[in-house]
């Protein structure tokens, strides 16, 4: 395997991990806001119990994606940075508001609910905006004049493809978070919250699939090359749909104890579904990082920097592996944390 290929696979893997973590994080913030206003259910508190220890870690993954892109594909960053100044700045502002208001809400019982609305709503918008980077990378919205890339922001706003991408980002975020929280509340033994999140997931599942299909076939003419590439890689997408069907029905299975649905299987299958789709999409996107201006080969960093980075990744994994294990055990596994009132 060539070094640029290895590098783009690493970046893509990190992007995939962040898109899952980020969807669950921002989605959980939204569900925490929705259910936090009602005293009848514990579902909001449960979402916040998951968020409190995890949001910082998730946020770090966002920076990790950017830094990985800078290290492995500095020319892509230089080009995207110029073109995406406006949309990414908006994401940054929302992110700042979201995180700080979430922490404010934790610190103030009296105004907690109002502050939570701000963080819930801003958080809801972020993944949708981040997904908007995808259609931009597919061509049709960036022009390079005198070596300076510029984004046709108005044209982007007016295009159908942006809105289908946004719809896909939003529905995915809410769906993944609902599924995850269904599993988390099941693990916590909170049956009332589990039923709420399971119901939300059952509603949202078909929406994600619907948006995935209309997003793919609603590309602008300049981006039609990727539709053809997706058709060439259709096997991955067929696997993905099969995983969806399997996971979705797992929500309807009966359990030995009589309760409805097996959320652990459903959530795992849906992660597999998104993984298959990401592999298929990633393969279709090759060889371009930004169509038609920059390929993976052209954007690749210096080979000696690349090797130094790989060493840094290995050392980082060795140090952080045990820390992640401890973290997982304490917050996602320990019944004393999960079952507290």
């Amino acid at each position: 395997m060539s070094e640029p290929t290895l590098a783009i696979m690493l970046v893509w893997l990190l992007l995939f991990v962040y898109s899952i973590l980020g969807s669950i994080d921002f989605g959980a913030g939204f569900w925490g806001m929705v259910f936090g206003r009602s005293d009848a259910t514990n579902a909001g508190a449960l979402a916040n119990r998951f968020l409190s220890p995890t949001w910082e870690v998730t946020n770090t993954f966002l920076v990790l994606v950017v830094v990985a892109l800078v290290g492995f594909f500095p020319k892509a960053v230089a080009m995207l940075g110029t073109a995406l100044l406006l949309p990414v700045s908006l994401v940054l502002i929302l992110l700042l508001i979201r995180s700080s208001f979430m922490v404010y809400a934790y610190s103030s019982k009296r105004y907690g609910k109002e502050l939570n609305v701000v963080s819930g709503v801003t958080g809801l918008l972020i993944p949708g905006l981040l997904v908007a980077v995808l259609p931009i990378s597919l061509g049709g919205f960036i022009d390079i004049v005198d070596g300076v890339p510029s984004l046709h922001f108005g044209q982007l706003l007016a295009s159908r493809t942006l809105w289908t991408h946004l719809g896909f980002g939003l529905s995915t975020e809410l769906y993944l978070a609902a599924l995850f929280l269904a599993d988390y509340s099941n693990e916590s033994g909170d049956n009332g919250a589990y039923r709420l999140y399971r119901k939300a997931a059952i509603w949202l599942g078909p929406f994600t699939l619907f948006f995935a299909v209309i997003t793919t076939f609603g590309m602008v003419p300049e981006a039609y090359w990727i539709v053809e590439a997706i058709e060439r890689n259709s096997l991955w997408f067929i696997f993905s749909i099969l995983a969806f069907v399997f996971g979705y029905t797992a929500l309807l299975w009966g359990r030995p104890d009589g309760g409805p649905g097996v959320p652990r299987v459903a959530f795992t299958a849906i992660i597999v579904q998104y993984a298959f789709a990401s592999i298929g999409y990633g393969l279709s996107h090759l060889p371009y990082i930004i169509y038609p201006y920059l390929t993976v080969e052209e954007g690749f960093t210096n080979p000696s920097t690349f090797r130094a980075l790989l060493v840094a990744y290995v050392i980082g994994l060795l140090i952080l592996g045990p820390a992640f294990y401890l973290f997982w055990k304490l917050f996602l596994k320990d019944k004393r944390y999960l079952r507290q009132e």
Binding site: G44, A45, N48, S52, P53, T54, E56, N59, T60, L62, V63, L64, V66, V67, A68, V70, G71, F72, P74, V77, A78, L80, G81, T82, A83, L85, L86, V88, S89, L92, I93, L95, L96, I97, S99, S100, V103, Y104, Y106, S107, S108, K109, V148, S150, N302, S304, T305, A308, L309, A312, G316, I319, L320, A323, L326, F327, L330, F331, R336, Y337
Partner: protein, 453 residues
């Protein structure tokens, strides 16, 4: 304003905002670590309460530090794409490793805060140690990139094309050690003096119980000892930093001191304004020969003046004032902390109210010192982004819309500064230390750092 100035203004404002929270994010965990250690050595519950309450404040500060750090990191790519193209090829490793340090801090921060009741005492100290380690390592790694911008190594740049990359040489650039030590020690110092300020303020309030005064005195003493030691170390290391400038960035040192003509026995100018017309510092105090002595430990040391360089490559001359403010604040802090310690523990007298008032100012003074120090170091490198390699105007973005974004970001920063201060005040007002000190009252879940509903 042109694009380059706007890009610098936007990035500079974001840094100025972030550096407040980042510095406290490095400094406070060290204080928490000391408090935890004191608790285990002395078995004095006051230290446990101090650690817990500082951690709560730290958790709120981190809520702003993390997203504002994300902003600064991403904004570099947005505003200085030309710079990032070189960074990515030459000095990507510290940025990458910084993320590992950041993750380490975030993981153990959550463990320390949200799993405290499930950890053994030893594991508690280990977690807070890793929080402090992660925060300090982040600071060193980011400073590494900053040091490399001042003394770039490990690559050649010919017609904008990067070649002969040596990532190791880039990481260990000559100014790394002095700069990183300076950043770390000044951050620890700031964390300690912010604690000193708060404790002194609490001790000034009348009508406190003896127990509360005892509690706040512990806090004051711990802060004074750490702050005093670190402010002294920061000053000594600052001297090494000046010598580093003399070697590697002579025009920055010349502008910092308002020195125009190259000379031995160069004088040290304190205050005043550097005037390019007359070629001297107006209205300042001159100490003959002192600059030569500082730069090379001998009065015969020849210090280069600004006139050696074309005027368009001079750093802005106002950095002389920034440099003075930073140095004077450093000296004042050493005097304040050692003065208070001697007064209290050698002369064995209680601190007078005016003395406490002076100590209240130490936290704000430290932060002003940090801000002026960073602005001095970054604007002192102008017009270069990468010293003698890349001009800022070649690094900055060529996109428009910067004015709008500048207004937007500055607005958000101002709002968040007020809101964060308000939330901190509100929280600690609702959960006063007296509540936790009173053993009759059980410590409720929501009073500590456990923040979920």
């Amino acid at each position: 304003m042109d694009n380059v100035v706007l890009a610098r203004a936007l990035f500079g404002t974001s840094m100025a905002f972030h550096i407040i929270f980042a510095t406290l994010g490095v400094g406070i965990p060290i204080m928490v670590l000391f408090a935890e250690l004191m608790y285990h050595i002395r078995k004095d519950k006051y230290y446990a309460i101090l650690a817990k309450r500082w951690t709560k404040g730290f958790a709120i500060i981190l809520g702003v530090a993390i997203p504002s750090g994300t902003i600064v990191g991403v904004m570099l790519s947005l505003l200085f794409p030309g710079f990032m193209a070189i960074v990515g090829q030459v000095i990507a490793v510290p940025f990458q490793v910084e993320i590992w340090a950041f993750l380490l801090e975030a993981l153990f921060m959550s463990i320390y805060v949200y799993a405290a009741d499930r950890l053994s005492p030893l594991l508690r100290i280990v977690s807070v140690f890793f929080v402090a380690l992660g925060a300090s390592a982040s600071a060193v790694l980011i400073t590494d990139a900053h040091a490399w911008m001042n003394t770039p190594r490990g690559f050649d740049l010919v017609n904008g094309v990067v070649s002969n990359v040596d990532p190791i040489a880039a990481i260990f650039s000559p100014s790394l050690y002095t700069t990183a030590l300076h950043v770390l020690s000044s951050a620890y110092m700031t964390g300690a003096f912010v604690i000193v300020s708060l404790a002194a303020y609490k001790l000034l309030k009348r009508g406190r119980s003896a127990e509360e005064r005892e509690y706040h005195s512990r806090s004051l003493l711990l802060g004074l000892v750490v702050g005093g030691a670190l402010s002294l170390f920061t000053a000594l290391n600052g001297h090494a930093t000046a010598q580093m400038l003399h070697h590697y960035q002579p025009e920055k040192l010349a502008a910092a001191e308002g020195l125009f003509e190259t000379t031995d026995h160069a004088p040290l100018a304190i205050f005043g304004v550097a005037d390019p017309e007359s070629g001297e510092v107006k209205g300042g105090i001159e100490i003959p020969g002192a600059l030569s002595f500082l730069a090379g430990n001998s009065f015969d040391t020849v210090v280069k003046g600004l006139n050696e360089y074309p005027e368009e490559l001079w750093p802005p001359l106002y950095i002389h004032t920034l440099f003075n403010i930073m140095v004077v604040i450093g000296m004042v802090l050493i005097g304040l902390s050692f003065g208070a310690l001697v007064w209290r523990y050698v002369l064995k007298r209680t601190l007078p109210r005016w003395g406490l008032w002076l100590l209240v100012s130490s936290g704000a003074l430290s932060l002003i010192g940090i801000e002026t120090g960073w602005i001095f170091s970054c604007t002192g490198r102008q017009p270069w982004t990468i010293y003698h390699m890349q001009l800022t105007k070649d690094a900055a973005t060529k996109t428009g819309n910067l004015g709008l974004l500048f207004a937007l970001f500055v607005g958000i920063y101002v709002i968040l500064l007020f809101l964060t201060a308000f939330v901190l005040l509100y929280y600690f007002k609702r959960h006063p230390a007296s509540k936790e000190l009173n053993p009759q009252m059980p410590v409720l879940d929501d009073e500590g750092v456990r923040t979920h509903v």
